[in-house]
């Protein structure tokens, strides 16, 4: 397949739904070969091989990376998009609630990167893109302290990994989405008029699409970004600019 990512081999976690599904679509359209991971029972994605894995289990992550590398005959690009955001008030948050979110969103990143280092090194110009969020690294959300901590943690992890993996020719960057229209968001804002109100509060005047995130990931996965490492690109339509929303 032709395109700016022709011949690139990418693993996208959380690639079966929401933002991850959009990323898979953009990378495919740019010519990359893609393996998408999802939870057991996840729907398959057009043009991408599906591997199911529970990312809370680092042994399953080792298996996922091995399976993906074998299916793709190597690995150039790791995109970690999988994440959960269950709401829990701090006063009643259990240790299990905390660990579940931190394991799925953050510890998984460490395990995915650790397992991918040999294949990405062999590729010679490996790329790692972690999907963080404006929530945590830039702002906070009530009821999502664990999610915000996990996403802020991803950005710190990315900077350290960028330093450590640069000698291996691997770049490590983040994309920090703002409010993106996914099935999950549509469910959360199901009441009539709520989505329109949210869009009104974003300077760009609209809610983002999964493709917006996919495009930023494609840039960071492409040769055009070869001198970019340790960075986080905010893709939020300017949502975090004004002091008062709306």
């Amino acid at each position: 397949m032709n395109g700016p990512l022709a011949g690139r081999r990418a693993l996208v976690t959380g690639g079966t739904r929401g933002i991850g599904r959009g990323i898979v679509g953009v990378l495919r359209a740019a010519g990359a070969d893609v393996v998408a991971s999802g939870r057991a029972g996840a729907a398959s994605v057009d043009g991408a091989a599906l591997v199911t894995a529970d990312l809370r289990d680092t042994a399953e992550i080792d298996r996922l990376v091995a399976t993906a590398s074998e299916a793709l005959d190597g690995l150039d690009t790791l995109v970690h998009c999988a994440g959960v955001y269950p709401e829990h008030a701090l006063a009643t948050m259990t240790d299990a609630d905390w660990h579940d979110v931190l394991n799925t969103n953050l510890t998984s990143a460490m395990a995915l990167v650790r397992a991918s280092i040999p294949a990405l090194t062999e590729a010679g110009n490996g790329r790692i893109v972690l999907i963080s969020s404006i929530s945590g690294p830039r702002t906070g959300i009530s009821g999502l302290a664990h999610y915000c901590a996990s996403k802020a943690g991803l950005e710190g992890f990315a900077r350290a990994a960028a330093v450590e993996l640069a000698p291996l020719g691997i770049t490590v960057n983040c994309v920090a989405p703002g409010t993106i229209l996914t099935d999950g968001l549509a469910e959360l804002y199901a009441e009539p008029g709520v989505l329109e109100e949210v869009a009104r509060r974003i300077p760009a005047g609209r809610i983002g699409s999964p493709d917006d995130i996919g495009n930023a990931v494609a840039f960071l996965a492409s040769p055009a970004s070869s001198f970019v490492t340790g960075q986080s690109i905010t893709v939020d339509g300017g949502q975090t600019l004004p002091e008062v929303q709306g």
Partner: protein, 256 residues
């Protein structure tokens, strides 16, 4: 390779303004944007501009005008921009080595005039054109020195240069907020060490000085084209939900 990478870049608009276009990052940006089919208005005060316009393939028109003169910029754009002007790359900048003790008021004003007022004036002069095109995008060129004192190579850092670039990043956020209503996005690119006439004179220095080499994760000068790619990405439809951000293209300098 360039053609394949260009597939990442899609532009709804038809024309772009690039300042500092005669050399370095500005020239590379002209060449990249022109290669995607955009008409480019190349602005610079330098004598080299004509040679650059001649050498860069594509639809490029050169304008020798002072970017700190908003009226002159506005007149020039009215004359040559034509329809569909949707993009601005503010690449013009100066960098003059002075220690804090040695900066004269004139040095200070000159630095702020070119690096900050220039970007402000060009964007404001271009804004009516961008509005008529139904929106567009502006990219300001900042520097890692906006965020970090860079004194590895020369202990006399460049306080006025750093201040001008930090202010430009702040201006980027204000412009992004104010111009969102017109569907105009504004972002910045913050280069690290780049191989340009500004940083190297006209010498072909290819090796990063040793103290900087030890610090950089990717221990080499960036090519101007690598900065141009980030500028073009932020300008393009691929970044249509990105506004008010600064993207460092620094080989990991800021995180090391």
């Amino acid at each position: 390779m360039t053609t394949e990478r260009s597939a990442l870049l899609r532009f709804r608009g038809q024309a772009a303004v690039v300042t500092g276009a005669a050399s370095g990052i500005g020239r590379a940006t002209c060449a990249l944007l022109a290669s995607t089919g955009l008409r480019v208005v190349a602005i610079d005060l330098s004598d080299q501009l004509a040679e650059t316009v001649e050498a860069v393939p594509g639809d490029v028109v050169g304008v020798r005008v002072d970017i700190t003169d908003e009226q002159a910029i506005a007149s020039a754009l009215d004359e040559v921009a034509g329809d569909g002007l949707a993009y601005v790359a503010n690449c013009a900048g100066i960098h003059v080595q002075r220690s804090l003790a040695d900066i004269s008021t004139d040095d200070w004003r000159r630095m702020l005039d070119v690096n900050l007022l220039g970007a402000f004036a060009v964007t404001r002069a271009a804004t009516p054109h961008l509005r008529r095109s139904g929106g567009g995008a502006v990219v300001n060129i900042s520097s890692v020195e906006a965020q970090r004192v860079v004194a590895l190579v020369n202990p006399d850092a460049v306080p006025h240069y750093a201040a001008s670039k930090a202010a430009l990043e702040s201006l980027t956020r204000s412009q992004a907020h104010a111009l969102a209503i017109d569907a105009i996005r504004v972002n910045a690119v913050a280069p690290g060490f780049v191989a340009t006439p500004m940083t190297q004179g006209n010498h072909d220095a290819v090796e990063l000085p040793e103290p900087a080499r030890a610090r950089a994760l990717i221990p080499r000068y960036a090519e101007p084209e690598e900065i141009a790619w980030a500028i073009a990405f932020l300008m393009s439809d691929a970044a249509s939900f990105v506004t008010g951000t600064t993207l460092a293209v620094d080989g990991g300098y800021l995180v090391s």
